[in-house]
Symmetry: C2
Subunit: 340 residues, 2 copies
């Protein structure tokens, strides 16, 4: 059901004020600070109704009201007055992205960094698994006769650390030829496409069979590693905020933030089809800690969602600032990725 305009106004005031002061909001505070035209008794009736509807809660009978998770969600999607960044902040964002843009990972790293710095919350970014990343080039570094470090460059990133074994009998020239063969065959293709390639190991090819299989194996490990691709910044920023004055809250928060796989699943799980997803932890056993909020957005290239970025912090978060920063960073991020 749709809320009356006055209810919306009051709810907005409560959320605004609570975000600002961290103190439960009383009817008196509302009339005195924001709505001198009506009396506190009227506001009390409205607050009571909003509580009935699930948007507000009371810590105890004689305390002011605190927004519920639903209230924050509504606030972000409808109630909140959008913030604008200062020219200084906008310039700062732009300046960060001027740095080298040769691979998506470093672009995303910059995005995550700037988000954390401007919002003062822990920021995160995940890039899609990369099944659509395009193969660019392969090179081998032969360290010993039987092992080589294989380097694969995609349009997204460079992968190293994949050691493969090669037949010791193979000469360096043959290895070189193998790499140019692979380059010719795979170049420009996505991982999905590469897997479909029917390899015809005829006589001119047969010597490279092991290599090919090993390279594809290396590619598979590349696409399998997902937690690796979680980028975070400002893991300790949450301590700056008043809610984290309690040891258990801190433990809860850290137990999530220090586990990249947890962060990954939170960010990639079902997102509603709205611009900014807000997820707030309710009980203690969910993926997100109690009273902890995750605001995230996806970025796309050519209409394909290829990653998610956002912030993690207390439920009582400065959503105006956060959304403004995410919005602006997102725009630049997409424009850079589109122009590649």
């Amino acid at each position: 059901m749709e809320l009356s305009e006055r209810k919306k106004k009051i709810l907005q005031i409560v959320v605004d004020d609570y975000i600002d002061t961290a103190v439960p909001v009383s009817s008196k505070a509302i009339t005195e600070k924001y709505m001198s035209s009506i009396s506190s008794a009227t506001v009390r009736a409205e607050l009571s109704a909003l509580e009935e509807l699930g948007y507000l809660t009371q810590l105890h009978t004689s305390s002011g009201r605190v927004p519920s998770p639903d209230a924050y969600k509504l606030y972000v999607s409808e109630l909140m007055i959008k913030d604008k960044l200062t020219a200084k902040e906008l310039n700062y964002i732009k300046s960060i992205f001027l740095e080298k843009t040769d691979n998506i990972e470093s672009v995303l790293k910059n995005a995550v960094k700037v988000i954390s710095e401007l919002t003062d919350y822990t920021s995160v970014g995940v890039h899609s698994k990369g099944e659509d990343d395009k193969f660019r080039q392969i090179k081998f570094f032969r360290f010993k006769p039987e092992t080589a470090l294989v380097l694969i460059v995609t349009d997204v990133k460079l992968l190293k650390d994949n050691y493969i074994s090669i037949p010791p009998s193979m000469t360096d020239e043959q290895l070189e030829e193998a790499s140019s063969l692979i380059n010719k065959l795979f170049s420009g293709k996505t991982f999905k496409e590469i897997c479909k390639i029917e390899l015809d190991f005829n006589e001119s090819f047969i010597g490279y069979k092991t290599i090919f299989i090993n390279v594809i194996e290396a590619l598979k490990t590349y696409f399998a590693e997902d937690e690796q691709s979680v980028l975070m910044e400002g893991e300790d920023k949450f301590l700056k905020h008043a809610e984290y004055a309690d040891v258990n809250r801190i433990k809860e928060f850290l137990s999530v933030v220090t586990k990249k796989e947890k962060v990954f699943s939170i960010l990639t799980e079902d997102n509603k089809d709205i611009k900014f997803n807000v997820k707030i932890g309710i009980d203690d056993d969910g993926a997100i800690p109690k009273d902890c909020s995750v605001v995230s957005a996806t970025y796309s290239v050519n209409g394909n969602k290829i990653g998610t970025y956002g912030v993690i912090g207390p439920a009582r978060m400065d959503y105006q600032k956060v959304v403004a920063v995410l919005e602006n960073v997102g725009k630049i991020l997409e424009s850079i990725l589109a122009g590649r």
Copy 2:
């Protein structure tokens, strides 16, 4: 001045008991649990003397005694009975190091990981800046006519992410030749040595001058980045320990542990020439937080100290376990590095 045997014994008991129980140790506890032959009044006199000497402190007049930083240091260097690891633990250490050993960084990473897991403290490792790392091989990935990604492999690690600009007029063949020239010239040399090489750009060489200069530039950035080489594991392990029930303690701890450059300077600053260095934070403005302890050791190859590894945790730390783990890991670490 040298302590009497009895004082040493009592100090050892106090530290042992305090590490075990986290409760200030009373004269009564000492006589009842460990020294039934003498009376508590005698112990009290000794405790009083040890306090006078700076080894013990009292929280208030009617509390038991707590070891001072000096007491912990003496404990580790002289008083403590060395712990032995179980066969299971030893096997675990060995098993971890069986993994790929192709570069020092990954070996150190394993060391740090195993230390954190066995001790349950945050562990750290830093490798020397690398002026003695040996150049192995260079390769160029030409992305655009005017830029290339340069990959340099040393005996320690692989460095990527160094983009250099190349003259667009240069053909791929010339670039290839440049890389084999560089390989021939630099191979097996340390950074120091490379810097000393007098480059004679005679006619056959002159075309590669820009490349050479750019490569050396890339090497310099490599050696300049130092905080990068701080490896850490178990950043949230400290929360497991009783001392971190206080928010300010947590903040202090995290403010150090999340800043790699701080950890770096703590680990690399003046170490006494003993096997296990113990540094304990005293006041709040030092590099190390109050009541926080850092136990570290260096590892060497051919008599050259090339890195430091250790743990960070509360002053009331299980030094027996920590030293035993560090000792064993250090041995394996050095044997692996020596055998390269």
